[in-house]
């Protein structure tokens, strides 16, 4: 049985002209990592303490990401107690936050006996819980001092 051969031209309904590009756009954007995890850096320094933070700037709901904090004693003197404080308003946007070393106060970590030029590391793991953009700060200061190094973090959690 012969089927008549005719040119096959692609035609679209009006709604397809709108809908199809949108459907194709999502995987293309995903391939370009628009919906993927990204990380960012932030740095600040006071007269005694320097702070460098690597944090997730974008990730997805229920994904686990870590925040790496490096604090350095840039003064010429020994620091007995150095405090790294995470903004509670920022941390509460995530679930099951884990810190190493363990906090002494809620969201505050004390680091003892930091020699001049010494760098210490604080690590936190956060699970994306609330959608949207969350901003907050991480501060580092010598206990009893007003001189604070503070960085602002901004993280977007995809639904």
């Amino acid at each position: 049985m012969q089927v008549p051969d005719q040119p096959r031209n692609l035609r679209l309904h009006a709604y397809q002209w709108v809908g199809l590009p949108l459907i194709f756009l999502v995987p293309v954007l995903a391939l370009l990592n628009i919906f993927g995890e990204t990380r960012d850096y932030a740095e600040a320094a006071g007269s005694e303490i320097a702070l460098r933070v690597e944090y997730p700037s974008r990730y997805r709901f229920k994904q686990l990401e870590s925040v790496h904090v490096l604090v350095e004693n840039v003064s010429a003197s020994h620091v007995d107690t150095l405090v790294v404080a995470f903004d509670p308003a920022y941390i509460r946007q995530f679930s099951t936050p884990t810190f190493i070393p363990s906090p002494t106060e809620p969201f505050e970590i004390e680091i003892l006996a930091v020699e001049p030029g010494e760098i210490r590391r604080v690590w936190a793991e956060l699970q994306g819980e609330h959608y949207g953009r969350h901003s907050g700060t991480i501060s580092a200061y010598r206990q009893g001092s007003l001189d604070t190094a503070r960085v602002i973090l901004s993280t977007f959690v995809f639904p």
Partner: protein
């Protein structure tokens, strides 16, 4: 990005497997094939989404799948060779009242299956069939002789 690649791979993988299995597996589900189709999502589901249960990942996976489905259908429509590659070609099971043994063997169609399809189509005898065609979708289409056609000699025994 990984979701798009994973969905793309699994789509091509399953499409290839279904193509290799043959038309009948697509057209009619036997219990074995039904089990296979139930198990495939279970098996590949984890591989597709990994530990990412976010809505974003679901949207990416679904739109990737839909994009692939649509792209495949467009390519099938525009290019006949691609259409044959993806969907196959119809196979002639009966010609002028005679079963085409080679095709039946290749497509694993038994005479009993043809007889069953004939009964469903209300055809009593095989010698009344000009062509029986296994369509790319797995269904069997029957073309009967028209009064103008020269029919083969009538056999007494109807097909079982």
């Amino acid at each position: 990005m990984e979701t798009v690649i994973r969905v793309g791979f699994v789509y091509l993988f399953i499409l290839g497997i279904l193509r290799v299995l043959g038309k009948r597996e697509v057209g009619q589900l036997t219990p074995l094939e039904l089990v296979m189709l139930i198990l495939i999502p279970e098996v590949v589901g984890q591989a597709l989404v990994r530990e990412d249960f976010s809505m974003t990942n679901a949207v990416i996976a679904v739109t990737t799948l839909m994009s692939l489905v649509y792209a495949t259908s467009v390519l099938s429509y525009k290019f006949r060779r691609f259409e044959e590659l993806v969907e196959g070609r119809p196979s002639l099971l009966i010609e002028n009242g005679s079963p085409v043994k080679e095709t039946m063997d290749r497509e694993r169609i038994t005479p009993e299956e043809i007889a069953s399809e004939m009964r469903r189509a209300g055809i009593e005898r095989i010698d009344k069939i000009k062509w029986a065609v296994l369509e790319t979708g797995g269904k069997i289409a029957f073309i009967q002789f028209s009064p103008d056609d020269e029919q083969p000699p009538t056999e007494e025994e109807p097909v079982r």
